[in-house]
Amino acid sequence: MRKPVVQKWLFIVAALVAVVLLLIGGRRTYKVYDADTEDFGLVVFHRISDRQLVIDATFSGVTRRGRKLYSTYDRTEARAKRTCPT
């Protein structure tokens, strides 16, 4: 009798944690710097959502150097669907 009650509570806690993570992920943004502009002493960055960072992760659109995230492509240009990076 005790085990189904524990399972039920674990289910509720896990579902709540999932919803909280989704809410945080929906609001969170990240600074992604332009790699090229640093050559001229300028620091240009874009704020991208967690959703955009997931998409960037699917084609290595962002890379990490030091403690910063850098874009691997020009974000000012409109882009079509990304194809295979390999």
Binding site: A14, A18, V54, I55, R64, L69, C84
Partner: protein, 248 residues
């Protein structure tokens, strides 16, 4: 259902849904892939040193609702394993302890190594992923020619060949031993909303369910205890035990 999902997952001619981590083994680098691979995303986020709120939230929500149901019904690599195991010939069962290897794979090749060495490390799971070898590496070799084959490509293709051979000899061998998505979803089988319903009250211990189970997970043990057969980390929730039960 598995064939249908194979078509749907690889028919991305329309809008981009690559922000959605579908918890099945299907490489998001495939040009036709509709969704993001959670493993590829976790490898990259580990390399970025960023917590993947959205990806983990989606995985956890689908996991608590369905457990490993998607492994049994939606995963295209699971379908491939099921088809390979139908090839006639001698078969064998893997030792029970091999089921723990997948947790090590998840911890090391998806989280720790990419965190320490960066997302482009040659030692992440993506570099040895058999689904990526099938969907990306082989089509890439066909289109560019095999003249510039790198050592990493040879390693990846060798692992694919070994996995395919193993799955032809032992049912769902990759799911049981190596799949990091399975490792993430396995504990959620214990609390998931989705339940495989079997007649626990009037079980005759005929063990037909044990013979039908593709992951050799002994569903009769849990049925005899009055539990749902999918309350086990190894279960891929295929419902085969329910289908063969004469009391259903």
């Amino acid at each position: 259902m598995q064939f249908f999902s194979l078509l749907v997952l690889h028919s991305s001619w329309g809008p981009e849904f690559k922000w959605f981590c579908n918890p099945v083994l299907s490489c998001h680098s495939c040009a036709l892939s509709w969704f993001a691979c959670p493993i590829g995303v976790l490898v990259h986020y580990s390399g970025y040193h960023v917590f993947p709120f959205l990806a983990v939230g989606i995985l956890l929500l689908l996991g608590v609702l369905f457990g490993r149901l998607l492994c049994g019904w939606v995963c295209p690599f699971g379908l491939l394993q099921d088809l390979l195991y139908k090839i006639p010939g001698s078969k064998f069962s893997l030792p029970h302890w091999t089921g723990r290897i997948k947790y090590l794979v998840l911890l090391l090749l998806v989280i720790i190594v990419p965190f320490a060495c960066g997302e482009q490390t040659a030692y992440s799971f993506c570099r040895i992923c058999p689904a990526a070898a099938l969907q990306v590496t082989i089509p890439g070799l066909v289109s560019t020619g095999a003249g510039q084959v790198q050592a990493s490509t040879v390693v990846k293709l060798s692992i694919l060949a070994a996995v395919l051979l193993l799955t032809a000899l032992s049912s769902r061998a990759f799911c049981k031993t190596m799949c990091p998505i399975g490792a993430m979803l396995a504990p959620l089988n214990f609390i998931s909303l989705w339940r495989v319903r079997t007649p626990t009250g009037n079980c005759t211990s005929c063990k037909l369910c044990d013979d039908a189970c593709p992951t050799e997970n002994s569903p009769s043990l849990r049925i005899s205890r009055g539990q749902a057969p999918n309350r086990s980390p190894g279960c891929v929730v295929c419902h085969d035990c329910q289908s063969v039960c004469p009391k259903t």
